[in-house]
Amino acid sequence: MTAPLAPTPRVATRRRASLLRSVLRQPLGAVALAVIALFVIVAIIGPWIVPGDAYTAHLDAILLPPGPDHILGTDPSGRDVLSRLIIATRSSMLGAAIALVVAAAIGISTGLIAGYYRGWFESVFSYGASLFLALPSMVVLLAARSVIGPNLWWAMVIFGVIVSPAFYRLTFATVAGVRHELYVDAARTSGLSDVRIVGRHILSVVRAPVIIQAAGIAGVAIGIQAGLEFLGMGDAKLITWGGMLNDGFQAIYRQPWLLAWPTLALVLISVALTLVANTLRDVLERSSSARRSRSSEQAPAVYTIPAGTALSVRDLEVAYGDDKAKQAVVVRNVSFDVAPGEVLGLVGESGSGKTQTAFAILDVLPGGGRITAGCVALAGKVTTQAERAHERGRSVAYIPQEPMSNLDPSYTIGAQLTKPMRKCAKMTKTEANANALRLLNRVGIANPERVMGLYPHQVSGGMAQRVLIAGAIATEPDVLIADEPTTALDVTVQAEVLDLLRDLQAEFGMAMVIVTHNFGVVADICDRVAVMQDGSIVETGDVESVFDHPQHPYTRELLGAILDDASVRELPSPTTTNGVLS
């Protein structure tokens, strides 16, 4: 259920405020942030905390090794290395910041404009970007130096301009990618000005990649700056890490330690920058771990499962977050049975936990989510996580909500249909092909041979959904989980797909769970219905009795809303703020 409008500002603020905390919660992120903070502090207060004299040369103290008087030793002019390292922090960090700000300002703004408006903006800016990318920066900086003199700040401004295509390309690609997404279209049709759309919807999309890129660029800028100094093109009057590297390099055989300190500073700050960015990215996009969390289901013996059920769920609880105290419980205490050949409708609004329940049964909860209590039984037998994973694509199948995004854009429909047959059902290529053709035919696709060779972007949503249904029933499963199978489709197609599902269910005698917010669908296809609210089942029963005599006020509210305005697909609710999409 894609929300047609962006999250409310309240939600957004809350997420942002917790961002820093989320980064801090990651051990690596916290350390990296601490390192950056340390460097920033040193850059600011450096001149007041130096232990020795960073500037005055001492003939009698040349190239001393680290010792009590000079903790990090002295340089070829007899100056305290630690003091110089501290002083250098400011100019080095400031130089990088200048390059970064210039690059980001130019790259992001042009990227936004070009990506959003396309047309000649795109042509001009992309041309400019490739121009800068192909310019040998060495020649540019050398030429610039003889025009502007040995000024580090201007050199970094110029470098910022040269690297701005990095931001441009990233922003452009991201913006061009989301420009026609539903929610942007929706915002546009709802009359929002371009500036507001860009500011609100598009900037939020590019934020994460830009932050990651920024850390990278900051690192590169620090490195390039060091390189410039190292090559003797920097400002001799400034103390910088690059200049210190140069000193060290000249004396590498006399005092190798000299090289170590500025290197350490350079590496530390670059690593910290990137680390923070990566952590940010993981936090922002909730993908810190791709690994599915281990479920802690109850021991099988606790539950008695009635014989003859195809699917039973008992006291199911699903939560996100590893920390017990802070985890968010999205499904609690859910129990139901589905007999072979029976259709259960799992009904509720966005965020009620119905899709989470479906994912838990399939063992495909997004990263960080896991079953924390209860159990899932298949064919009367309580299953472990591994068993459920094994049954996927065999006795349990899944039909998704959004047909287009559930097909891999890189493979033909034929390839996507036959691959599971060959891998799971061990069919030969010919068998799989024949089987796929038969299935496509069965789900009502007129020209299966042609469709097999098409890519997902070449077919309509309705046809894609039929393909997905064909894929789901390929192994003649006992249990079919359909997550809003008609929601994303045109109204005219919805009925056809429902008809198809009903026919197939009857034909194969499958137990089926339909996750939906739509009582029309329930009325059309379900035998029984379970109404969910805030992660719990509030009412369950035969379709007829629930429709005729809804017991729970929430059920009545839902039914009432449908009667009021049948065309609304999504039921707005003030309680939809827990951030987990159902």
Binding site: P150, A236, Y253
Partner: protein, 520 residues
Amino acid sequence: MKFSYRATAVTAVGVLALAACSSSDNDPGAEPSSSTASTETGAAMAPLLNLGVVDSPGQGGFVAADMSFATKAPYGQAIYDTLVRATPDNLLEPALASDWGYDSGKTELTLKLRDDVKFTDGTDFNADAAAQNILRFRDGSAENANWLANVSDAVAKDPHTLVITLSAPDPALLLNLSRAAGYQQSPASFDTDTPVGSGPYVLDQAASVVDASYIFDANPDYWASDYQHYDEIAMTVFDDPVSMQNALMGDQLDAALFTGYQGFDQIEGAGYTAHEYAQDWEGLLLFDRTGQLSEPMGDVRVRQSINFAIDKEGLLQGLAGGRGEVTTQVFGKETPGYDAELEYAYPYDPEKAKSLLAEAGYADGFTIDFPTVSFVPQATFDLVGQQLAEVGITANFTDIAPQDYFPTMLGGNVALASFRLEQPATAWETYSLELSQGAPWNSFHTPDDAVAGYGEIIQTGSDADSAAAAAELNKYIVDQAWFNPWYRTITTFYTDAETDVTPQVGNVYPYLWNIVPVTN
């Protein structure tokens, strides 16, 4: 990249250097020495010499008339013969010229040429070719074209007699004919892409990579086989001393001129023998002796004050790791005019420096613009600026782009500069490079009757008069504090166990035929 700048500097130093080479024990105007050379080993040829060089042939390529010398000497010496040959001590020996002599006015030099030499393109070497080569070098773009500046004409009197007429006596002429000015290129190859000589080796153009490595094969018909020791010589260019050190320690070179400031112990530890010789002096050039740019500098007491303010011994230890000798004079140890007494003229004495400044009316010190450049180690400026500051002279450092440093120094745009100059082996070269009114390193072209008077005696006087005048000149320059030399630096040439070398007095790179295989 920094390193290649340094290489540039070395080249330039070399340029001066070459101006500097000369004979000390031998009057360059004299008859050919009868002593036969030191390098006649007569040993069998060794197969291959891997030679490390510090720069490529440069803008002149391999065109004899445009070639440089100094650090680039091996390139020319591989493919060209010179009219005369200098021993490592700069005694002159016959080469393409078997005999020579001046007229009484020292303005006409007659050379008898060998009649049995052919260029490697098969054409004959003769006086006509020699005359053309002399004039081409004088008029060419070689950085040392001024070596033949006094040549007014060169003609072939007969096929084997060359007569060079001079506009004024030139004490260094014959010595210069043993260097690049004496290279003899086949006239048939003057306007082609492949210059041809008569020398011991032939450039293998196909196997060479311009600016990186040059391969030379032995000339099978070479007329002076005593000066040819290898079947093949591979010269590899290292414009960065750290890379050269790596190559040495990786045992990739048999012999190399090393221009680095560090790593000496490691290279010797890797089995190389160091051959060390004092070649350059390092210090401040106090250009503005008339106070045009910086008024205080026009006062001799201020210039002397600078000399007292600098701790030379400290700089030698701090900047050169003690590899060198403290000095006060621009005349080299081997140069006529050198005076050991003068070495102690300006001991480190900041108090004296301050009182001299006060005497000159600068009790509160003064500020002076001081150019810095990336190829001179930053520590130099740090330390010198520090020592000047201690006596009240504030150095206002301005960084100059490397490619602008020479024009800045030589164009009279700075009152002083820190640099390293070669110590010419003859007084005449020292005079005409650093002291005469027209000398390039006298960049404000300070006129000085005393200096000019000594110069004239050096140019035209007898050996004894010349040497006496040189000594007077040297003392005068030190008294007047035209310069602030700190120390003579050590140049190091490395050879491996299978190779030996005899360094050349007055040239930074040993002459090619003096790099020989060790015969056991």
